[in-house]
Symmetry: C2
Subunit: 345 residues, 2 copies
């Protein structure tokens, strides 16, 4: 509660919530009309002056209403997250579940649908990253002869998704040899997480001069190549209704978001900030990461695939988005996604 007493706190929240609802500078009279604090506008005025002094709100110009500052939003969001008595409309919960249920089979589609759903409920940009490749475990590896100098390699992951690639061989191998490679790889790396595999391959390759077994060396090279293809960090977004919202009447906000979408690297940089152990996290004002995103905020949470890997979901919207409504939505979506994925195991 820091430097604010309960009443001041309440009024700050009233101002911020009003501003979020109306998108208009909030004056003292406005506050008394919308909330029944049993206080006169004059009193509110005094408190507002104090809140301005403390940097929570500000006036766009002399004798205008007050608008929350970044600090104000941060404080507001903090109290929201602390209380966490955020309730949700039953209908929304239901709709949410329905949207994600029944497409467990295809992770890609599920991720896609999730981003659309987030976007649909928020009217802003929905972002979803797939479960981090590095966390996924390898279940089974197979290398099959294809042509004389090409082999088809297949990775099956813990969640039964499959990745594969044709790899070039520098000499002719028999299927028998390939089976030996396969065998070795499965024994070494079956059930191991990709990041672990990476480390082990690097270590073993460094020792390889001692072992001197050509086939095993080759196996490791194959493995290295296979894993390297897992680095791509796909990232889905949706901007479904963003264009409808009056919020975005200011064209520059749309431009800012579009600019963000353009550059996946920026996005990843943004998501790198997310702590996977916590629940919902809110980042108000993204300018410390991307200068042009000064007036944008991000609400994120993490989910797991029911195994070991976790991914990130969230939304990006204007700083003055409706946190009260959106925090539970992101929270719920993350939980629903985790549930759906766990069940499909």
């Amino acid at each position: 509660m820091s430097e604010l007493n309960e009443r001041t706190e309440k009024i700050l929240r009233a101002i911020i919530q009003s501003y979020i609802d109306l998108n208009v500078p909030i004056g003292s009279y406005m506050v008394t009309r919308r909330f029944s604090f049993g206080l006169s506008p004059a009193t509110i005025r005094n408190i507002m002056a104090a809140l301005e002094e403390l940097g929570y709100i500000t006036q766009p110009y002399t004798s205008a209403g007050r608008v929350p500052t970044e600090r104000g939003y941060k404080h507001y969001v903090d109290t929201l997250l602390k209380e966490y008595s955020l309730s949700m409309n039953k209908a929304i919960i239901h709709e949410l579940f329905n949207r994600l249920h029944g497409i467990e089979i295809d992770l890609q589609r599920l991720i896609n649908e999730t981003s659309k759903t987030l976007s649909f409920f928020s009217s802003y940009l929905g972002i979803v990253t797939p479960p981090r490749a590095e966390d996924r475990t390898l279940k089974h590896i197979r290398v099959i002869k294809y042509t004389s100098n090409k082999a088809l390699s297949i990775l099956i992951f813990g969640d039964d998704t499959v990745k594969n690639r044709l790899i070039d061989l520098e000499r002719v191998y028999t299927q028998r040899e390939l089976d030996k490679i396969t065998n070795y790889l499965n024994i070494s790396f079956g059930g191991v997480s990709l990041s672990e595999v990476k480390d082990r391959v690097a270590y073993q390759l460094s020792r390889e001069s001692i072992i001197c077994d050509r086939l095993i060396a080759k196996s490791l090279m194959v493995c290295k190549e296979l894993i390297s293809m897992e680095n791509e960090d796909i990232l889905m977004e949706g901007l479904t209704g963003a264009s409808n919202l009056p919020d975005f009447a200011d064209i520059n906000e749309i431009k800012d978001i579009l600019k963000a979408i353009e550059d996946k690297h920026l996005m990843l940089k943004l998501l790198a900030q997310v702590d996977s152990s916590e629940g919902v996290q809110v980042f108000v004002g993204l300018e410390n990461i991307i200068p042009s995103m000064k007036k944008l905020s991000m609400v994120v949470s993490t989910y797991t695939d029911g195994m070991d890997a976790h991914g990130t979901i969230g939304i990006i919207g204007p700083t003055r988005m409706n946190y009260k409504e959106l925090i539970p939505i992101v929270d719920r979506t993350a939980k629903t996604l985790t549930k759906v994925l766990s069940e499909s195991q």
Copy 2:
């Protein structure tokens, strides 16, 4: 040349090109200043009145300059496509090639990069569809035992891309049986296009009661399932610089494009119009397909993957986009893509 004589034609083109350049209603005086026709404004005025009569241009209000109508644009584009003396900046050709060269390996990335490139050069929405799955030929099929009731099926296509999926088996098969299935499928469908495979599977399944060979029936079922997964029509887009362009100062145009992106179905409906045998095609005013896209146009062309399959690339932008510049860009991009794909075979 229809109802217009050469001089009138020239002036119509001057007006449209000026409007595209300046985005401002074009008056008679303006035309004489920007082009040296050796005619006075008064003469131009008479011709303009005639052009308005014919429906090629219109006045936003009494005594304003003229603006092209949809009909005007169509006529303009037709003459552009007929002449086809459209030249391109060497630097752009070079840049274009560089962007697409060297990533032949990964079709997905190539498509992605192409859409970004189109978007980059046009500042509008770039669209690229992958080579039509139905046109692709099947090179090799394999079914591998995975667990007692699951098998891993692998399709290798003519272009060496690989698709796979885990399929459920209703009883336990030995690898020997699966090999037999594999064998049968390869003999039947190796080198055949997917659409052809589809037909044949349907036909053979209808005759299957006669053959009565359980394994073959199962093979066909497997094949059917495998192919059905090929139906997804992925579609990449980019909107890289669109937000920078002054054209889009009108927020509604951005909204229209965003709305289009939202709905892949609409997009596919749009692209269904494209004739794969022709070169560059231009669709002015997309309202007959999607009402909200009245003020948008599409410039498209097709490419092939060096084998039998062809895909579509193009851009969608405001009706008053710079066709003169963008038609060659789309044309060139399609050709570059075809070239890059053919070389990587």
